[in-house]
Symmetry: C2
Subunit: 191 residues, 2 copies
Amino acid sequence: MELQKVDGRKARGEKKRRAIVEATLRVIERDGVSGVTHRSVAREAGVPTTAPTYYFATLDDLLIATLLWSAEAMCDDVLKIIASGTAREIARSLATAVDTNRGRTLAEYELYLLAGRRPELKPAARRWLDLATEVARPADPVAFRAFLAAIDGLLMQGLIADVAPNEDELEPIVSFLIRGRDESTAAPREE
Amino acid sequence: MELQKVDGRKARGEKKRRAIVEATLRVIERDGVSGVTHRSVAREAGVPTTAPTYYFATLDDLLIATLLWSAEAMCDDVLKIIASGTAREIARSLATAVDTNRGRTLAEYELYLLAGRRPELKPAARRWLDLATEVARPADPVAFRAFLAAIDGLLMQGLIADVAPNEDELEPIVSFLIRGRDESTAAPREE
DNA sequence: CAACTACTTGAACAAGTGTTCCACAAGTTT
DNA sequence: AAACTTGTGGAACACTTGTTCAAGTAGTTG
């Protein structure tokens, strides 16, 4: 049981595997899921055409691995903001998501839609919702669900706007949505 | 200027053109945008492979035509409900959209995402939002934008839920969202 | 009937696809 | 050093793709 000494080949293999996944995510951000092919990914990652096939049995597996990994990474970012953020902080994050991180946000919603057709992706797509609900322990579950739904809507609508909405534009909307949140938790229960 | 007599050939042509568009929409509902090829559409429509190419210069044109047409059709349905519906009616429509009309709703959101990458589709994707705002003449624009955003979010999240949310589950959320609407318009301004 | 236009359709092409195969290099163990 | 496992990567295969082409039919007009 020597946990110290790992096979150098496997170590490099895992590294390359991750590099391929990261390259795939970049391709998705740039060209969408439909732009993902063994060859486009290999080119992006700077590896031979057969490398993706070696590490992932099928193209679908590569896609799924990428989206699971992407969702995981996204979760952390989102949660911090939602759980403890003020309306302005949330609005700023949303504005960034549809502007600077536009490609990434688009990719994220391609996951949603893909999950709509592939049940095995559903848990990953739903993860941030479940976590958010768990972390926030909302006093008013109905208002909180409305809030979470509106976040998705604001992001999607921000993606198809002629000019992406900015922080100042989003702030009042976010304020409206979390209106009930802090009021209701004025006397927080410690259980 | 004989507007009466139309070329019988052109008439049939237009009919076939529309049949191809409808077949394309069915393919999107079933297999997603990525499932759309000249051949799959032709098979679905029961026409030879070259028919789609004859009527649409390129596959992209076919896709765009289909999505424009789909968005148009969707608009009418949605508007009636939003503008004059009660919370329960809206909740019922949403529940239907993620259950019975699941495929159609998925297709609609693929338009959204496609519009995110193809500016020429943005107006079509945004159409229902603009129309809804115009028709509703909301007293509280902020609350209304939150409401519209939440609709998108509820639909998308409904698509990735393990079991699609039903009418009763959605009703309180919709109620929460339109809470301010009717109160604010108690004294409607006629200008 | 002849000229013209609009539509029809099968064959074919080049390009790109996912995937397999296999000879080989490199690292690990005995 | 021999046997093994793991990773590498070029060549190739069968297949699907978007699109073109040319020969054809049918409807319209003069």
